[in-house]
Symmetry: D2
Subunit: 359 residues, 4 copies
């Protein structure tokens, strides 16, 4: 109810503030007997980790995850997996200036109004640092999905005005992680890097879009009516810090099409049902149809800028807020790992849930 | 788990197929002592009802709701409100031709694959007829919200290539229901009507966008991390038939902005905290900040077209499917009531939930 | 949250007041393709139905269930099963005398205090009439369980001072329904009948105990820690009107035993793991071990008696309440079907849930 | 779903195995601004802690809880409270003998059957060591309840054949913790101590009963039908290791009474509605009525005995199991703190939930 759990069968519950002792979480409902690749989990965390290039925040965090339970002799036991990630590089005094003030477009004001008492240091619970725990959950989910032939891959498809023209199927998604922007088109990646770097030098920030593709998803995941697969993906994506939009398949551009253009006709190939086009984005009637699932997620520019802004303090006095702390000029490169993690959590949860729909 | 319930405190559970005996639902968690305006509920249903003009499906349904419990002497008792809407105008034989075939971009195939046994008549559970029950729930939610000074208003902001240029704040939303398109700009409404009518004559369908505005939402609704208010709104909207996208506040266009342009600076007016701009869309850190909440929902063109399409049957033979049955050339005019209903359900649920977050 | 849903995967949500238009419910999560025996469902309802002999209430209700959705051509479709049971024999004017007064040991006072506005007729939602919907859900659950070789059988093991001495395994449970008391020992059944009939003539009521036995439950149902199988059974049983206690396996009498007496030693027979004794009641560590699951449920005497009692009214004045209306002198005979239904709901839900615990 | 979460609004999720690195948990939904008394939490943990006298297990655990989040400047922030308790005194080699064997009446067999891979050391997740996390949650819940004038007090009312005759209202519950048995009758406490000590010397174990009394509970907590307050208490109690039964108010002995004896007549004193007797145990129609809530919980004798027993191993061979490890001869003295914790979690959760039932 209080919003720190995600999923029904494979359920991740997280805790932790940006500048507290540790972040952490509990994964409940992980099937037993899964042999975990801990290096893979750490690599996934590293992909989200700050301080990877000059276009991400310079906060240095090892983001080393310690597993405390639920794993025995390297394999999951079916009991809850508890884990923590200690905070090591917090610089709380950077935040004294916003102890009593509300930064524009941050959660300072709404947290204060809702809770009355907040850990202001580094944004506390509202900091994107929290997403590290999502990546731990996602990295375990991904390992199970891979065994089932399901892959989840995201990439940066737009940064400010720079937008990839190619459809995901015309891109080599494997090169996504060869550059620090996480764009599968090398040339565009270079342009985006330069653009973000200039934004950074200007003390400003910029938004963008992530595209995510899920391949190998079996037919039948998702439910009619309220818990459609795309509805759960939408919730997952809009739960990520700074995200502002979600579109699946043809999305907003599909609103311009006629039914005769948009409909995906069925055919059979090698005894497998396929569709000639995939405007549906792999989901029909809320249920996966075996085609690729793909969607876009919009991210706004990071709210913390290295410029002076006006705002108010707790006593409703007007104040001036200067940019301080270590922040990302563009959240997109680091968002890729988070989008993938949330998508993996949704798909695995529906995979397990679907097993309980038959007898 | 099986996807037919929505909400946590104020929870709507629905049932019913397009051509079954009746649709219906249970509203659990409605506060006691609410004096219900039954005419209002029926009006809301009428706004979603088919057969209202020549640009909506000609199926004639009275959509009369009967309440069976939870109400005593005109007021809610706090116990579950059961209701049914009988189906009266079904023409099931219209659907014999798709008994064994899968219509393109419909749920026929995915339901068959997931369940093995389906009520094909009129699309069964996958028909948008199901949304009538959402409107019943939404109409009750709205009545409670209105008492709290919260209004939920949606309108058609785009139909195919025809797009309203004005911001919602420059429109007179009260005129929305004066035309059958449900567009608050009369001139644009006429254009949209003609456009949809031409699409209908062509036997085709068209997509579009709905904009929804929530005014008067108190500060503090929503939760950090996974159950952000916008995440729950996104899920609600993507759970509606034919919806393909959701964006809140600046949405996808916000990805083009810099932080210095996007940030909403705080100020105080009459002792109320406000923001100079509202790119956040009324939600910051997942929690409402007192500003208007507004968002767009994208709808694809209706899948049923009056044209011949190729597809496959249950035995994987190629078949030809002709358009039959009574369907909407454009779902947008009827979607307005559904979008409002789902938004009202989310806001009321969070309002009640928020009451349990304090002691 | 508001307490009208039961189960997680196979979920029953109910509505309806004693003297309203109809009772009903929605079963969500029922697997598709189950061929339903509607006569069986009605027989189960008949077993709970009032007016079966002179030792049950003389209210005559047909308790005919109408299914409105989720079933097509006699088989479940995986979509929600909506059903209603119309009230036909309500005599609401019997209850005018308690409109403003609180009957002792009834829910009149607590409902008034919690909700402020209540349907007092026949006890409204607090009437045991609500349990008819549980029996509908249970009857469907039972049919699925039977296909899996799982049987759920309850019987009256005690009425006031009359207590069956025999262990369930020494009784022929099949004769339970040959008498109106629902006691598998014919001689004891006669004694109980005479005893209850005398209680009835005295205008009084009496409590008792139901024993329930589940055979054929597979190994592995239930979860560690909070959702132990016995914990969910306990909740199910204590949710039944007038129930006051639950004990599984050795129960309260097991508190007198030493570990060396109580422990169930394992052995293997025909390659199946068994225990020499079954003090555990078929559940160890919260998880079924393949042995019979058995438990007792205590029921208090029905609160409505045909005697004059003192109480208070809404204005806190002392009042005298005379016994009126039609009520059971002993709830036990009719409770048997309800106990079985709730047990079936728990077991089926865990059966389905267990399917989602593996990959 | 996987059973490691408890509660809806105030929700405790736990993890940890007996001999793993650490136990821990997350409390989600704790209201903000609660000033926590950390000494009180530690005292509560000490009451459950092993090694307190010669009649409890000699395993020495400090059971020191470390809070990692959700608390700032000594007060809760409304964000999730993460905590861990490190295991320090595990002697895993004590358990090598049962690595491949199933101890009678333990969870070894059912865990192996359900999960296929288990942490056998000290019983892993099935060990009662897990209950330390419940006490952390309960200790925080209690602090909030105390502010609301609600107290939760349990005591040992029976050990094997030794049973307290007095009703709880005739006992001085404050002396409960003056003895290591946790019995409020000093003389009986001495007898119980001697009895348990003899059982211990015999290498055996013994069961017993805990009584719990909740005073000051406001009217209106609990829900009709499935989530009755007593149903949630029953589930809470049956979720505790080794518990076998639950009875509220008159409980099983109430089955012997007639309605005219059992009914609790209302009267008014100082403008407060009271009942002359309290056979209902403070709950009517599933909802608290303002009287004391009281119930009994039955605990079986601990399964681990210092005697030789026969059993089977993984390969279904008959084996002999000798008693080893450090265990309690009687779980009752330590169960008192756990029963109180679970009761506090239920009451606080319903208190918060009840706030969302009104508008």
């Amino acid at each position: 109810m209080a919003g720190n759990s995600f999923g029904t069968i494979f359920k991740l519950t997280t805790f932790g503030e940006s500048h507290g002792i540790a972040l952490g979480g509990i994964i409940d409902g992980c099937p037993a007997g899964i042999e975990l690749d801990f290096d893979f989990i750490q690599e996934e965390l590293n992909r989200r980790k700050p301080g990877q290039s000059r276009i991400t925040t310079q906060r240095k965090e090892n983001d080393e995850v310690e597993f405390l339970s639920g794993i025995f002799e390297g394999k999951t036991t079916g009991t809850p997996i508890g884990f923590i990630i200690k905070n090591t590089n917090e610089k709380s005094k950077d935040y004294n200036h916003i102890k009593d003030s509300f930064r524009p477009s941050h959660a300072d004001f709404t947290y204060e109004a809702k809770y009355g008492h907040r850990d202001y240091r580094g944004g506390g619970r509202s900091s994107a640092r929290e997403t590290a725990c999502r990546v731990v959950g996602g990295a375990i989910a991904k390992q199970i999905l891979i065994q089932k032939g399901i892959s989840v891959q995201a990439y940066v498809s737009q940064v400010g005005p720079l937008k990839l023209k190619s459809h995901y199927s015309d891109l080599n998604l494997k090169v996504t992680y060869s550059n620090s922007v996480r764009c599968p088109d090398e040339k565009m990646a270079d342009e985006m890097f330069e653009y973000i770097d200039q934004i950074r030098k200007d003390g400003d920030t910029i938004g963008g879009t992530t595209t995510c593709v899920i391949k190998g998803c079996p037919i039948g995941l998702g439910n009619p009516v309220f818990d459609r697969l795309e509805a759960d993906l939408a919730k997952a994506m809009l739960s990520i810090n700074a995200s502002k939009g979600f579109e699946i398949g043809s999305g907003f551009s599909g609103t311009l099409l006629k039914g005769s253009e948009h409909n995906d006709e069925f055919y059979v190939e090698n005894n497998i049902v396929k569709t000639k086009t995939n405007n549906s984005g792999g989901i029909q009637g809320g249920i996966s149809n075996g085609e690729d699932i793909y969607f876009n997620v919009a991210f706004k520019p990071v709210a913390t800028i290295m410029k002076t802004q006006t705002s108010i303090d707790k006593n409703y006095n007007e104040v001036t807020i200067d940019g301080k702390g270590r922040h990302d000029p563009c959240v997109l490169p680091r968002a890729v790992a988070i989008v993938e993690s949330m998508a993996a959590l949704v798909i695995l949860d529906h995979l397990l849930l679907n097993q309980s729909s038959k007898i």
